[in-house]
Amino acid sequence: MRVSIITFPGSNCDYDLFKCVQLVGGEPQFRWHREQELGDVDAVMLPGGFSYGDHLRAGAIATMSPIMDAVKRFARDGGPVLGICNGFQMLCEAGLLEGALLRNRSLLFASQDVLLRVENTSSIFTQDYVPKQILRMPIAHAEGNYYADTKTLDRLEAEGRVLFRYTDALGEATDNANPNGSARSIAGILNEAGNVMGMMPHPERAVEDILGSMDGFDLFKALLSHRSRLGAV
């Protein structure tokens, strides 16, 4: 499966994603943000980092990059798009996902391992997890405080589009376990069509034992084996 990883000036998790996709058996390729076309690929990933130095707002300027038109077309045609951290912020800024990411409640950058509960295992991103499975992976962001109005939040929940929630080891979405103040402890969401996903935690940093967790591996595995099941979307 061929994956385009978009590099913006200031992206810094592009290389990590590249290695991760390789490890899981995919064929990654970098796309520079100035390019107009994605090429013949099966999935697109927007990496973490500080595109354009977070000037204006995290992810805001990146949405003006030429490549983003191609990403939008790809998404509209049902192609899977995954945005991690800064990539999630871009997807919200670009209107491909609902809501916004505000500054962390603590007003400090938050770099730590978090625990996530898998809320829906029917998406192309989470189908290899077990319902309510608890995952461990790092976060590293200053603006990860997910916000949307109540109506939107209710709709996301009702449509099973909240994919991950921050919880404690027992799977409780307590206030203490919420590292950034996200509404309803939301860590990752899906678009209405089910092909665009954004999350603040870094699954690509949890794909080898030596990194402290392998819990991100199944997300990439699910996505990369998705093409054979593409008809399901």
Binding site: K19, G49, F50, G53, S111, A140, E204, R205, G212
Partner: protein, 766 residues
């Protein structure tokens, strides 16, 4: 570019002329430029005439303490700097060592104390930026950063402001560029109140063949200014760093540069691409003293000359004088020597990364540092005397009477008193020096680049080398209290502790970079501290075979005439042969046996115990037996490589009791209890809280205990079982001959993890 009218071949006489509006060169002006009468006389001698105002500025920067090392150079020669694995020793942008498999590690530490004291956020951020550039200009991709931070008492609002700002500055910069922070140290003592120590260290990885130096090679090659434009910020930063701080220093805020990590990231990628493509022969950060030092040093190292035209340098605002352009310390700028004919390739790469690049001059064969303003020569100085001719001094060092008295203080009463040890222990665990620094490193991205195998919070940070079985480990260490009381022993102790830390994670200590932070070297008691510390460091580095490959000297760390605790920070790197050997400081399993390697002593001098209970820095700091240290380190590393040990942790601040607690709390959310009995015939207080060197606490499977004891014996290292790891629902308990220290793990965990967050709650930063 205008050719020089006459190439004399001799490398002295020149005829730079003053510009209109230049102030006349007076004794007062020379003094204001931080140059002594003797130094000025030497300048006259070198030039054979009076310098222009521009030239005076150039000399002032190049002969500042920061660039010229005039009060440290002679003593620094005493440090060991060579070993078969050292590829590049001191004198380049960073040191480089061979780590096998065709790979080399570039690393360096640097201070940003003065800027951070005045403007903590930008001061610290630009410190990180500078050290990253030092490493990637060697051709290495930065793979990790660490920091060594020393601040005043956290109960002071000003200190909390500085601390919060510095941590945010380091975090924001490193996070944005995408370099994981893997460790370091934070130390508090009121001696750092007005003048914090902010040292940043960077490690970079490269293929040996990609090594490139900061040399102006190839006559006719072009000099290009790359990256940010030159502005009026940071003018005379190098000179500012070479003065004591006073109330007036805050008027120096404009001398603090402003960092832009986004441009840095682009510069990093572009530089590595330029080097890899073979388009350039030399590259250097425009760091302290900006264009002046980068151009002069590159010329000096190659023995060539350089000619640069101020009219060609991209500037941020019109009307900047050559003096200002030459001495600006605007950040994120590099000087690149492009191969003649490669200008277009260089420009194409830089354009791709959306960076500016302008040809500003070229390499010449006349050995002169020549500055033009269009047709006019505004400065012309022989390069070598400019970079190497700075007068160096060796001064008289005399120990301060006051410190001698503190050191000689009789500590018997502390040793003999028997307080409630549980209560004292809790006080120590809640001392910011012992308490977890999680509040700090949670603001640093520690896992980006997906190679971090041991994150901050342990004895040393570790990044694996992708595609190999190996990893590199790094740590920074310096206990300023110990150095204050006895600089020679304290500096030896810093090296020993750094090496112990590396061994505990499974690495062989390989080399160091040092950051020597001291007061005003013109004062004899400060010079004494400096000399003694260098001697102690030298002795320890020789014995541990950890040569010094570079570093930084930061003098004049004083506020209103009072110096900081002398702080020679050791940044040590080591190599882990197989990632399977990686060992944590955290106890792993209930039921494991706890063993102590090394000897307990009755030493209590310079300890956190005396600091916390009496607010005193007194007594003889713990002695260092280098041979015993080396035996201990060999023994522990051998056992780790045999996979005998489940954990290993060095005993330092807060002594045995605190080291045991750190191992018990090592798995943060799932702590384990400890049941230890000590039979030593020693007074209980130093036994529990003394900071004797040469000790490591380890844990292993009960079935491996005999083998551990046998191996320790073979290495000639004292070793004994002192207790057991128990489930976290049980207490932390140490029984001594006349006392029992007992605290429940919940309380301990709270004291350890919540102290600094609680102190910092509500502290704001810029």
């Amino acid at each position: 570019m205008t050719a020089r009218p006459e190439d004399t071949g001799t490398k002295t006489i020149s005829n730079a002329t003053p510009r209109e509006g230049d102030p006349p060169i007076t004794t007062k002006l020379v003094e204001e430029h931080g140059l002594s009468a003797a130094e000025y006389a030497r300048i006259l001698d070198i030039l054979g005439r009076e310098p222009t105002f521009t030239e005076l500025g150039v000399f002032s920067a190049m002969w500042s303490e920061h660039c010229g090392y005039k009060n440290s150079k002679r003593l620094l020669r005493l440090l060991p700097t060579t070993a078969p694995w050292v590829i590049q020793g001191p004198g380049e942008n960073a040191g480089v060592i061979d780590i096998g498999g065709g790979l080399a590690l570039a690393f360096k530490i640097e201070s940003h104390n003065h800027p951070s004291a005045v403007e903590p956020y930008q001061g610290a951020a630009t410190g990180v930026g500078g050290i990253l550039r030092d490493v990637f200009t060697m051709g290495a991709r930065p793979i990790a950063v660490l920091d060594s931070l020393h601040f005043g008492d956290l109960n002071s609002g000003r200190v909390r402001y500085l601390f919060a700002g510095v941590v945010k500055g380091i975090g924001d910069y490193g996070n944005c560029v995408g370099i994981p922070n893997i460790g370091g140290e934070v130390f508090f003592h009121r001696g750092y109140e007005g003048n914090p120590v902010v040292n940043a260290m960077c490690l970079g990885l490269m293929k040996v063949e990609n090594l490139i130096k900061g040399e102006a090679e190839g006559v006719g090659n072009f000099l290009m200014a790359v990256g940010a434009r030159t502005g009026r910020d940071g003018i005379h930063g190098a000179t500012f760093a070479s003065e004591e701080l006073s109330d007036d220093s805050h008027a120096s805020r404009p001398q603090v540069q402003v960092g832009d990590p986004f441009t840095e990231k682009l510069l990093l990628e572009a530089s590595l691409e330029l080097i890899k493509g073979g388009h350039i022969t030399g590259i250097q950060d425009m760091g302290a003293a900006g264009i002046t030092s980068s151009a002069a040093e590159m010329a000096g190292r190659s023995g060539n000359g350089v000619e640069i035209d101020m009219n060609l340098v991209p500037v941020r605002e019109p009307g900047m004088t050559p003096y200002e352009i030459l001495l600006s310390e605007s950040q994120e700028r590099m000087l690149v020597v492009a191969k003649s004919g490669s200008e277009k390739s260089v420009r194409d790469i830089l354009t791709k990364w959306e960076l500016e690049a302008e040809e500003i001059g070229r390499v010449t064969d006349d050995g002169l540092f020549r500055v033009l303003e269009g047709d006019r020569v505004v400065a012309e100085i022989p390069s070598l005397p400019l970079t190497e001719g700075c007068p160096t001094y060796e001064r008289e060092g005399i120990e301060s009477e006051e410190i001698r008295e503190l050191r000689s203080m009789d500590l018997t009463r502390f040793s003999e008193e028997v307080p409630d040890h549980s209560e004292v222990f809790m006080k120590l665990m809640a001392s910011p020096n012992i308490a977890s620094k999680r509040w700090v490193y949670r603001q640093y991205d520690t896992t980006v680049r997906t190679n971090t195998a041991i994150r901050p919070g342990g004895d040393a940070g570790v990044v694996r080398l992708r595609g190999t079985r190996r990893a590199v480990a790094a740590t920074t260490d310096c206990n300023g209290r110990h150095v204050y009381l006895n600089p020679r022993v304290g500096a030896m102790g810093a090296v020993a502790e750094a090496a112990r830390n590396l061994v505990c994670v499974g690495a062989l200590p390989t080399a160091i970079t040092n950051n020597l932070n001291f007061g005003n070297p013109l004062k004899s008691h400060i010079y004494y501290q400096f000399r003694e510390a260098v001697l102690g460091m030298s002795e320890a580095c020789k014995l541990f075979e950890t040569p010094v490959t570079g570093g930084n000297v930061s003098f004049y760390n004083e506020t209103d005439g009072v110096a900081i605790l002398p702080t020679p920070v050791i940044g040590m790197v080591g190599v882990v042969e197989d990632v399977d050997h990686l060992t944590s400081h955290a106890f792993q399993n209930a039921g494991d046996v706890i063993l102590l390697l090394g000897n307990n002593t009755d030493e209590l001098g310079g300890s956190e115990y005396i600091q916390v209970l009496e607010g005193l820095v007194a007594g003889e700091p713990p002695s260092v037996d280098l041979l015993a240290e080396r035996r201990l380190q060999h023994a522990v590393l051998a056992m780790i490589q045999q996979n005998l040990l489940h954990s290993a942790h060095d005993v330092s601040d807060g002594g045995l009791a605190c080291a045991l607690a750190e191992s018990a709390l090592g798995q943060e959310e799932s702590p384990l209890g400890v049941e230890v009995t000590l039979h030593d015939d020693l007074p209980t207080t130093p036994l529990l809280f003394g900071e004797a060197h040469g000790r490591i606490i380890t844990s292993c499977d009960p079935g491996s205990v005999d083998e551990v004891l046998r191996r320790a014996k073979r290495h000639g290292v004292p070793c004994r079982s002192i207790g057991t790891v128990v489930p976290g629902k049980y207490n932390f308990r140490i029984a001594g001959k006349d006392t029992i220290l007992e605290v429940d793990m919940g309380t301990l965990s709270q004291l350890f993890f919540d102290t600094i967050p609680n102190l910092m709650d509500g502290a704001s930063s810029s």
